[in-house]
């Protein structure tokens, strides 16, 4: 187990390093000179040079990259003399656009993304997993066909289309819901719920469709397993056969998938946040990309990759506790 953890953690650090390196390399190579952007309209060549020196843009790639890395771990200082700015670890730099520390931008926006992710996850687990199980039990009935049809729709309809349709119907036509805004829970729980319910639904719908299909297929496969036949041959009550012998093996893959999907969502739901104008990490990512705000792009990439990888490691650990075949090696 210890060996497993050490191996996984070492792998995790390696993958993170590569992600950072590639992202940095791509934006270093492809982006137009950020100094020109920062400088704005009334710019002189001297000013651009000074910005370059301050940001270290005049130094070679590997030095900049190492500077970025060391900023992450020990902090860094931009510029010299009275103009110097200290950036404490973990330093993700400053936005070229607003001059705001990237870390601070995260802190402000992460709550919105997390709220979206958690709320949507609850919904899609309810709809997807419960729906999939029910469809499997009632295989071939109208419920199964309806649920499977809805799931197919959910997979095929792009969620921004659904978002726009719902927004038009529920907000513009019926006026039941407000245009979503990130109302803090503490400020007004009722409003908080009304504002978030539509983004939750839209986000959950696509995932629920995937989970419904996966759960249904897994449950049906498991019901065909020989050990389910054994359980029935023992004369176990149907509900025990179902709960102990069919559900646990069937849901294990769902758990692993969920861990990764959820971790990914914490790193921002780009489309949903943009469509609904919710100021989360996803919107920050899309804004920074359109404006080529390199430090923010780097920050978002790094955090998103970190979350997904940590999610993966957690899933692996959970998996070993669920499945004894992984936890305990075979007898020699």
């Amino acid at each position: 187990m210890v060996r497993f953890l050490v191996t996984r953690l070492a792998g995790m650090v390696g993958v993170l390093f590569l992600v950072v390196l590639f992202t940095y390399a791509i934006f270093f190579a492809l982006s137009p000179d950020p100094a020109v952007q920062i400088c704005g309209k009334n710019c002189t060549p001297e000013l651009i040079d000074q910005i370059r020196t301050n940001l270290g843009l005049d130094r070679p790639f590997y030095e900049q990259f190492l500077g970025f890395l060391s900023g992450l771990f020990v902090g860094t200082t931009y510029g010299t003399g009275p103009n110097a700015i200290d950036c404490a670890a973990p330093c993700l730099g400053y936005s070229f656009q607003t001059g705001q520390p990237v870390l601070e931008m995260f802190e402000q926006r992460f709550g919105v993304s997390a709220t979206l992710a958690v709320g949507a996850a609850v919904l899609w687990l309810l709809m997807g997993v419960a729906g999939g199980m029910l469809a499997a039990i009632k295989k071939g009935t109208w419920f199964d066909r309806a649920a499977t049809g809805a799931a197919l729709g959910g997979v095929s309809i792009p969620n921004y289309v659904l978002a726009l349709v719902l927004q038009y119907v529920l907000v513009v036509q019926l006026g039941w819901l407000p245009f979503p805004q990130a109302v803090p829970f503490a400020a007004d729980p009722g409003q908080w719920f009304l504002n978030f319910v539509m983004p939750w639904l839209v986000l959950a719908f696509t995932y629920a469709s995937m989970y419904q299909r996966l759960t249904r297929a897994n449950v049906l496969d498991t019901l065909d397993e020989n050990f389910v036949r054994t359980a029935r041959a023992k004369g176990l009550a149907p509900r025990l056969v179902w709960r102990r012998h069919a559900l646990r093996p069937a849901l294990t893959p769902v758990v692993t998938l969920f861990g990764m999907d959820f971790a990914g969502l914490l790193g921002g739901a780009i489309i949903i946040e943009t469509v609904f104008g919710l100021n989360g990490v996803g919107k920050m990512a899309s804004d920074s990309i359109t404006k080529n705000d390199q430090p923010v792009i780097m920050g978002v990439t790094l955090v998103a990759a970190f979350l997904v990888i940590v999610g993966n490691v957690i899933v692996d650990i959970v998996y070993t506790t669920i499945d004894p075949r992984v936890r305990i090696g075979a007898r020699a």
Binding site: N226, R229, T230, L236, P238, R244, R325, A330, R331
Partner: protein, 284 residues
Amino acid sequence: MSALLEVDDLTITFRTAQGPVDVVDQLSFTLEQGASLGIVGESGSGKSMTSLAVMGLLPPTASLRGRVSLDGTDLTNLPESKVRRMRGDRMAMIFQDPLSSLNPYYTVGMQIEEAYRAHRAGVTRRQARKVAIEAMERVHIADASRRVDHYPHQFSGGMRQRVMIAMALSTEPDLLVADEPTTALDVTVQAQILDLLQEVRRETGTALILISHDLAVVSEIAEDVVVMRQGVAVEQAPAERLFSDPQHPYTRALLDAVPRIDDEIGELRGIDSVESAARVGGKP
């Protein structure tokens, strides 16, 4: 006093896209208390479906006519909840592949306890665990009190089949149905499991139905033998009669086709009609 098991005019029909297919056709046999019956046949003979029918475990696409009576009670007329209470208690079953027949997520002890507790109301976990350990000891699993907490993948193939047998025996059933119990096992392990089945019968008085494609295996265990071919029992007789003086041409041909370990036979007899018939029957 009636026989333990009476199968009377059993017909099993499957609904298929090509219409109904009879996989077992008017099969009848009886089994006395503590007796052993071998059902032998090649693939598609309906022998496994017969065993599932006895256990009341036929798939939903199958329908059944005729009678299957255990101790005079016709199981085919009983509601599923009543059959379920007999299943695993009065009659138990073991299968061909012990690895996939055990749930990988639970310890073998838990799976044996579960079989016992399903039929003994009010039994505590502690009592059930004791029964599980005893059952494992009875099938000669060494160090049972420790092994009871192990998972199926930690056992070898033969040991897993012993676990299955322990599970089946935990409720002291009157009838044990063994469907190809040694087919997935190595020959040395097969011999051990067959010995164990014999021993269990001697000591517990459990009646045994042994389903197998292997005539030699059946000849070593069964007192009576039914030879099945494409759903029909072509011959049934006491083992000695059947093996020393087979009457039906199919039984004779089948016995001729078995390769012997003791000597080389010039030309083995094949049964062409079986192969072509299987193809006509829609087998891929």
